[in-house]
């Protein structure tokens, strides 16, 4: 059987091959859910979860986190701010209550891990070693939580150290999720690659603020929050483009992807896969819509696989 035939076999879409391999793990398609913007039960009420390439969970920490008081959400022009503050029930509860349900679906499971110290990250990733999780995404970047997060991703040395330690404790492939709130993203990317990261996810949210001028206070209880949505896409595309030219490991690109064409933009910039975040909060069916728009684009221009898109830039 020729390769062409094989492609026909594995894909439901004519001779399109949407598969992508990240750290030895094959995703059926490049569409994943951005951490913190997906709930299997609730999103599953709108679309068939098996359509996804991978599920990336919301951030999970070693112990339960309360997150920030409300208001946690503010709308901005073409974007939104969130200060959820990584509320989560902790890794034990996640493994016991959520993972079994996630495993009833086909897509790969990527667990987003957060922590306030290197030790906390390591303890959490260790607990996932013997679970049926496919990959980890280490969030070294969330700007919401005062006690940690930001410092790791904004400092080359800390990012390197965290990667080294997590790499040591984890049996799973690890993606390092970078923050865009840095002077030079390529420096951080090279640092985590050098310490054994299997891939990079970028970008997380930009740190922002909105003031309610009528009530003379910040809209968010936490004052600042993470800016996401189409407003930040140009920054995200630029960073994916820069990082693609700085490291060899795979990249999951995200930040403001609203349409299939946006997804193509990230692939052309150099991403291997993409995540859909804010778009799915606005239009719950966004991940599957974007997937079919991507297929439409490939058919229109005759791309047969993602590799061809990634290599198409002149």
């Amino acid at each position: 059987m020729s390769k062409q035939d094989l492609n026909l076999d594995v894909s439901k879409h004519r001779n399109l091959d949407l598969r992508v391999s990240i750290a030895g793990i094959t995703l059926e398609n490049p569409i994943t859910t951005a951490s913190g913007t997906f709930s299997a039960k609730e999103s599953g009420a709108f679309y068939d979860i098996d359509e996804l390439g991978a599920i990336i969970t919301k951030g999970v920490s070693i112990a339960p986190w309360e997150g920030n008081p409300t208001p946690r959400i503010a709308e901005t022009y073409g974007g939104m701010l969130n200060s959820v503050g990584l509320q989560n029930p902790g890794i034990d509860s996640f493994i016991k209550e959520e993972l079994p349900y996630l495993r009833t679906f086909g897509p790969r499971i990527v667990v987003n891990v957060v922590g306030k110290s290197i030790g906390e990250y390591c303890s959490a990733v260790e607990k996932l070693n013997d679970t049926e999780v496919d990959m980890l995404e280490i969030n070294i970047s969330c700007p919401n939580i005062k006690e940690g997060g930001i410092s790791f991703g904004a400092d080359e040395k800390l990012a390197a150290e965290l990667t080294r330690e997590v790499r040591k404790y984890s049996k799973k492939p690890i993606l390092m999720k970078l923050t865009p709130n840095v002077s030079d993203i390529t420096e951080i990317a090279r640092a985590v690659e050098a310490e054994g990261a299997d891939g990079i996810s970028l970008i997380n949210t930009l740190l922002g603020m909105k003031i309610d001028i009528h009530n003379k206070r910040t809209v968010l209880w936490n004052k600042t929050g993470g800016l996401s949505g189409p407003a930040i896409k140009p920054v995200a595309v630029r960073m994916v483009y820069q990082v693609r030219r700085s490291v060899c490991i795979p990249i999951i690109g995200l930040g403001g992807i609203m349409t299939g064409e946006d997804a193509v933009e990230f692939l052309m910039a150099g991403a291997d896969a993409v995540s859909i975040g804010t778009a799915a909060l606005i239009d719950p069916t966004a991940p599957v819509r974007i997937k079919s728009e991507l297929i439409g684009f490939m058919n229109r221009y005759g791309y047969q696989n993602l590799q061809q898109i990634r290599e198409s830039m002149l």
């Binding site: 913190g36 913007t37 997906f38 709930s39 039960k41 609730e42 999103s43 599953g44 009420a45 709108f46 679309y47 068939d48 919301k58 309360e66 997150g67 008081p69 409300t70 208001p71 946690r72 959400i73 503010a74 709308e75 022009y77 073409g78 974007g79 939104m80 969130n82 959820v84 509320q87 809209v219 949505g229 189409p230 804010t278 799915a280 909060l281 606005i282 239009d283 719950p284 069916t285």
Partner: protein
């Protein structure tokens, strides 16, 4: 796939008081709209603005349903509701099918029906834009009451100045008591003062309105040991349970222990039991 985003058609959109509008939407366009629009009182829908500078859906409570039609009552407070107020008959509007958990009335009627000789009074206590969802709730409760003379449905309504939906609520409630804070109409004061003054013995409370009102009512119901259901409001992101933006702290018994559990207003609520909400925050 039980939920959907659909395109509804505007049937009418009118001002009913200063800054307050009532919009009626035809939701038949959705393939299985009749199915999907089987809304429970207390549920809400997401409305999607057209202006693309605004990304987030606007949650609005379902005020009234009739076959494929739903009616919403809203106040113009910002760009999203301003845009909504400009929609004309025939315009298309992106909305979600009903979201969240509505008021729980089945258990109440089960309890009531267990003792056929007992007389019971049900009160709807609402303030401001908490009043619209009371209409669908009143209709549903009244339908269940039917010709049963033992059960009385009373509404206590509080407004800033101008009142609205009084007539509609009167057609379903045995009594409607109105308070306005500025004294334009009915009792001059808050709805809670009005209730106190009326001194009616109530067995079941259903409420929606500003948080301070709900909190005071919860304290009252706790004192008199009567069950209360409240509908909470919180700034939302997705409105369907994906973003954890709309958290509220509740008490929950788990493994025999009382635990603080964060719940999502959009998905676990907006209706909660007065006893489960942690109000202190």
């Amino acid at each position: 796939m039980t939920k959907k985003i659909i395109e509804a058609q505007v049937i009418s959109n009118q001002k009913i008081a200063e800054g307050i509008f009532r919009i009626t939407l035809d939701c038949a366009a959705a393939a299985d709209a009749t199915e999907s629009f089987n809304a429970k009182p207390g549920q809400f829908i997401n409305l999607y603005p057209r202006d693309k500078s605004m990304l987030l859906p606007r949650p609005i409570s379902i005020c009234f349903t009739e076959r494929n039609r739903i009616t919403l009552v809203y106040r113009v407070v910002g760009n999203g509701t301003r845009e909504l107020s400009c929609h004309k008959e025939g315009d298309g509007l992106q909305i979600s099918t009903p979201l969240g958990q509505g008021y729980h009335i089945e258990a109440m009627f089960e309890a009531i029906n267990q003792d056929p000789s007992d007389h019971k009074t049900i009160a709807l206590v609402a303030g401001g834009l908490g009043i619209p969802p009371m209409l669908e709730l009143a209709k549903t409760i009244r339908t269940q009451i039917g010709e049963d003379r033992r059960i009385k449905l009373i509404a206590f309504l509080g407004f800033q100045e101008k009142a609205f939906l009084i007539e509609e609520l009167s057609s379903f409630c045995h009594e409607v008591h109105v308070a306005t804070e500025k004294g334009d109409f009915g009792f001059h004061g808050t709805v809670l003062e009005l209730m106190e003054m009326q001194n009616i013995v109530v067995d079941y409370y259903f409420s929606c309105g500003p948080k301070p009102m709900l909190k005071a009512l919860a304290a009252h119901c706790h004192r008199i040991e009567k069950p209360l259901q409240v509908s909470l409001e919180e700034r939302m992101g997705c409105g369907y349970g994906a973003c954890v933006g709309c958290t509220c702290k509740t008490k929950e018994e788990k493994d025999g222990l009382m635990r603080v559990t964060p719940k999502k207003v959009c998905k676990d609520g907006p209706v909660f039991f007065g006893e489960e909400v942690i109000w202190s925050e």
